[in-house]
């Protein structure tokens, strides 16, 4: 390995990149524009969510009847939580976004309210404040159900109320959700399209054939290009975080896990780009193939909107996409500080990266058949 040659290629790659207004725009300014645009539109709003967890601590006919009514709304999918679970631990461990706790004594309190006009009972609604749109919908549905019950039981007097509690200790907004998604998306775009340019355009232009006959080896060249892609990835990450901090005041934690996920993401999508470049020879077709892969992934992997707001079948697909784990990993590592989840997401990204990058390197050929 000749590191001097690797350095030469790396520096010249940066120089070439900096001269392309289009590339700089798509690499840096486009994500900034999206952050500003989406941040302005969706800050303070959230996504719809239809799955709700219920912990019925009362476990009586009346509490079960309440769960049945919630289920019958047709909007909510009820998932029951065991009564043995300490609820805050359960929320944290399972990354729960919405949960209702029916308190012990619920039936008793409701029954007593018929004779004691001051008697009230409160359900506790745990919600994710970053998903304000979802919260509004769920709050509205739950309130409607409770109003109906109150009307039925007492002709309008409120005996069953709703107290709210955030699932996370800090108050996160849409922009906190969005910035890590944009970082993942930007690295994906840069890496896939960068790889494709190197493997289709350079092949068509004879540059790979020329390089094959020079002393630079294929591994030195790939290393130089990966250093360049990492350089771009860190520049993009810094810009996205900078905009988030300066324009929206988000609080970001840069830690080792964040850096590892950014590096793994760059390797992962460069590998995917290499694989596309190997099988799709025409530059334009390769671009289309890259678009066909990255565009749906952008929407399905929770870049702009939470995956939980999507239909169940789509959620299954989302969880098969590498970008989903990149986005979730970055959010958990950088914003939510949920390092356990981030570690799991990061591990999955690393596995994806190892598979795709190794496959890409093996499939990348300079020689012609």
């Amino acid at each position: 390995m000749n590191l001097r040659i690797v350095g030469v290629d790396f520096l010249y790659s940066i120089r070439s990149w900096s001269r392309s207004r289009g590339t700089v725009f798509w690499s840096l300014l486009f994500p900034v524009m999206l952050i500003l645009l989406f941040g302005a539109i969706f800050s303070g709003m959230g996504d719809s969510k239809y799955t709700i967890y219920v912990q019925d601590l009362d476990n009586t006919d009346m509490s079960q009847s309440l769960v049945t009514i919630l289920n019958k709304t047709g909007i909510l999918t009820i998932k029951n939580v065991s009564t043995n679970q300490p609820i805050t631990d359960y929320i944290k461990e399972n990354n729960i976004k919405n949960l209702i706790v029916i308190p012990k004594g619920y039936e008793n309190d409701v029954t007593n309210s018929f004779v004691d006009p001051d008697m009230k009972v409160n359900l506790t609604y745990y919600y994710d404040p970053t998903e304000t749109q979802t919260n509004q919908i769920l709050r509205s549905v739950i309130s409607s159900v409770l109003e109906g019950l109150n009307m039925q039981l007492t002709q309008g007097k409120t005996i069953i109320g709703l107290s709210e509690q955030s699932t996370i200790t800090e108050n996160f907004g849409f922009i906190d959700f969005f910035i890590p998604g944009m970082i993942g998306f930007t690295i994906m775009q840069q890496s896939i399209y960068g790889s494709i340019e190197r493997n289709t355009k350079f092949r068509k232009d004879g540059i790979l054939r020329k390089l094959l006959t020079t002393p630079i080896t294929r591994s030195e060249w790939i290393l130089a290009k990966m250093l360049f892609m990492l350089f771009l990835a860190f520049i993009s990450t810094s810009v996205a975080i900078g905009v988030g901090v300066l324009a929206f005041g988000i609080k970001v934690n840069i830690n080792l896990l964040t850096i590892v996920i950014v590096i793994a993401t760059s390797f992962l999508f460069s590998g995917i780009g290499m694989i596309i470049g190997r099988f799709v020879k025409e530059e334009e077709t390769a671009d289309m193939a890259a678009g066909a892969i990255s565009f749906p992934m952008m929407f399905l992997a929770g870049t702009f909107f939470a995956v939980e707001s999507m239909p169940a079948i789509i959620q299954i697909i989302s969880r098969a996409l590498p970008l989903f784990y990149v986005n979730e990993g970055l959010r958990n590592a950088m914003i939510y500080m949920n390092q356990t989840e981030a570690l799991i997401n990061g591990g999955i990204v690393l596995i994806f990266a190892a598979i795709f990058f190794i496959a890409g390197v093996i499939l990348t050929k300079w020689k012609e058949d």
């Binding site: 010249y12 232009d205 390089l211 020689k367 012609e368």
Partner: protein, 354 residues
């Protein structure tokens, strides 16, 4: 490996074969396909050989792209590898450059077997691939510097810019250059490591005549610098203008090889003397009586075949002696196009890709 020429006992044409002294080979006549056994005689060549190719073959599924070809290129010469599109030129040159792997055969560059020692010889060669386009956002100077820095041995970039007449364009981005300038930069790139052998694959394809001539001048200068040039082309004028040695490839086989003069002598037509607007009916008879082969065209021109140009005066003096009038004369010699036509029955420029 040495070159050996053999006369075919059936068609009496001479074919060239390569092998080591004392080696017995079963060969096929390139003209009539008669098979026979030959023994290579003579001594091994000295170190004046830049490229040695022996029994090179490339097969793709059911297509034989290159079919058992052998040749040698001497140091310091321009070797033109001439053939129509799809004849196997680029496949051959890319096997020599180790871009493609041969199905069979051996290649030596500067005495090094490329199968095992290509990495050792990389510093001493340079290539300009077919339809090459360099990095668009590098300037001319940066392009040269980038490739130069990949080598241990580096030529002076300023000298290359000067020699290639690129000094005034050195700060322009590659993407903004004309086609001719891009090709000139491509050739200049081939010099950044001061190579001993330069491979140029179709360096003038797609260029206008002026740009083509500029590139020819650059290539001719390479020979002046002592470089060995392996030039792949389908332009016969290019080979005629530049080459010291020409090999014609057709359907994957070398069908003729030699200097331009050797090829014209061996395969070309006689020189034709065109006598324009000669209305005399006696003219044809007079010349035929003197032993000339005369044809007439529909527009009263006479076409007289002559062995060599000195015969022109003899023809004209006969006409003058008989007081036969005409408007003027034109002499047309044989060329590679005719050689190719004669060898293959097809025109070089009209052949399609297989």
């Amino acid at each position: 490996m040495i070159e050996q020429r053999f006369k075919c006992p059936t068609c009496h044409e001479i074919s060239t074969f390569y092998g080591d002294p004392g080696e017995t080979q079963v060969v096929t006549c390139t003209h009539c396909n008669t098979k026979g056994r030959i023994i290579i005689t003579g001594e091994k060549p000295g170190n004046d050989v830049a490229i040695e190719v022996s029994h090179l073959k490339k097969v793709y599924d059911d297509l034989i792209a290159v079919n058992d070809i052998s040749f040698r290129v001497k140091k310091g010469e321009i070797f033109a590898f001439l053939g129509p599109n799809g004849a196997g030129k680029t496949t051959t040159v890319e096997m020599i450059e180790s871009i493609r792997t041969p199905t069979e055969g051996a290649i030596k560059l500067l005495g090094t077997d490329t199968k095992t020692g290509f990495n050792q010889v990389k510093e001493r060669i340079s290539i300009l691939p077919q339809e090459f386009h360099s990095f668009e956002r590098f300037t001319v100077r940066e392009t040269l510097t980038y490739f130069s820095k990949l080598y241990k041995k580096r030529a002076n970039i300023d000298e290359i810019l000067e020699a290639m007449d690129l000094r005034t364009h050195e700060k322009k981005l590659y993407k903004n250059l004309s086609g001719g300038l891009k090709q000139r930069v491509g050739v200049a790139l081939s010099l950044v490591n001061d190579p001993e052998i330069v491979f140029l694959d179709e360096p003038t394809t797609g260029l206008d005549p002026k740009a083509r001539r500029e590139v020819w001048q650059v290539i001719a200068n390479l020979r002046n610098k002592g470089k060995t040039v392996f030039l792949t082309t389908h332009y016969m004028e290019e080979a005629e203008h530049l080459a010291d040695h020409i090999a014609i490839i057709h359907k994957g086989k070398i069908i003729a090889e030699g200097t331009l003069q050797e090829l014209l002598t061996k395969y070309g037509e006689k020189t034709t003397l065109y006598i324009k607007n000669c209305h005399s009916e006696d003219a044809k008879l007079v010349l035929e009586e003197k032993g000339f082969e005369v044809n007439s065209s529909g527009n009263s021109d006479l076409m007289v075949k002559i062995d060599y140009k000195e015969k022109v005066l003899e023809v004209l003096s006969e006409l003058r002696h008989e007081c036969i009038e005409y408007d003027g004369v034109d002499i047309r010699g044989s060329n590679l196009e005719e050689v190719f036509l004669r060898l293959t029955g097809a025109r070089l420029t009209e052949e399609e890709e297989p």
